[in-house]
């Protein structure tokens, strides 16, 4: 049942992504000033939605772990952070390629980009911290605290375009601007791609959680072999 759900979600996400790619490449006209390159936003923006959602999920799970002390919340936090880190890297990569054409540079130390990079480093630090602590309870407790504090970097990254003047384009989506800054068809495509990536990310998080459970079982068996 669980395996079927995993494959079902991944298949639905994959099919929706293929359909979206077809519409993005063949259904949409080139943008007047940017040409073909503007299409990158249809992956760039949903990637950031996914990583912000993943970090929020990880932060929520970390709070629940500290409250309930159930390992499933620690498993969910680390799985969500790992997926978030992958999508943060993809977001930075796609943004950098877009910037090379539109700005003429691969990178600039503007507030939005700098905070996005800091955010990536903090969550990479979270993953490294987990590898450095051997005791499972200590590891879960310390990393949960870090994960909760790390979420402030997500909020700052998200709000950077409102708080500071930055080279990065401002908000365009209706829920932030009240509408009128983006073609409705493009906005729907951004949301559809977010849905597709979310459908693909969900089974990845579930598989990663299963691996954490297996790792705990392995650690338990190792302790038992030492005792025998």
């Amino acid at each position: 049942m669980r395996e079927k759900l995993l494959y079902g979600l991944a298949l639905a996400g994959g099919l929706l992504l293929v359909r979206n790619l077809y519409v993005i490449l063949l259904g949409f006209e080139n943008e007047a000033s940017q040409g073909a390159i503007y299409r990158i936003i249809f992956f760039h923006v949903p990637c950031w939605f996914i990583c912000f959602s993943a970090y929020a999920l990880a932060g929520g799970s970390s709070i629940l772990y500290l409250w309930k002390r159930k390992t499933i919340f620690d498993d969910l936090a680390v799985s969500a952070v790992e997926v978030g880190v992958v999508f943060t890297a993809i977001g930075l990569l796609t943004g950098s390629i877009w910037g090379r054409i539109i700005w003429g540079i691969w990178w600039t130390w503007g507030p939005r980009l700098t905070w996005a990079f800091i955010c990536l480093l903090i969550y990479l630090g979270y993953l490294m911290l987990r590898r450095a602590i051997e005791d499972p309870t200590e590891r879960a407790k310390n990393s949960a605290v870090l994960c909760i504090f790390a979420f402030t970097s997500v909020v700052i990254t998200y709000k950077a375009i409102d708080w500071w003047r930055t080279q990065h384009p401002g908000a365009v989506l209706s829920f932030r601007t009240g509408g009128g800054n983006i073609e409705p068809a493009w906005e729907y495509m951004l949301l559809f791609n977010f849905l597709a990536l979310a459908l693909l990310s969900a089974p990845i998080v579930m598989i990663r959680m299963r691996q954490e459970k297996t790792q705990r079982e392995i650690d338990g068996l190792r302790r038992r072999t030492h005792e025998l």
Binding site: L21, N30, Q34, G35, A36, I37, R39, I40, F43, H44, C47, V86, A89, I90, L93, T94, I97, W98, R100, I101, L200, I204, I207, R208, Q211, T214, Q215, E217, I218, L221, R222, R224, T225, L228
Partner: protein, 50 residues
Amino acid sequence: MDERNFTYMFLGFAAAWAALAAYVVFLGAREGKLRRQLENLRRMVENREK
């Protein structure tokens, strides 16, 4: 279509997909490694308990 822009657009899509595919492959490899470790340890415990 601007050919240069198209090349970079393709590069952007390819980079995104390649990064995601690399992570999925890494995840699959880790899954295999964990399963092998688990099987070996289970066998070891069974042998020592006999």
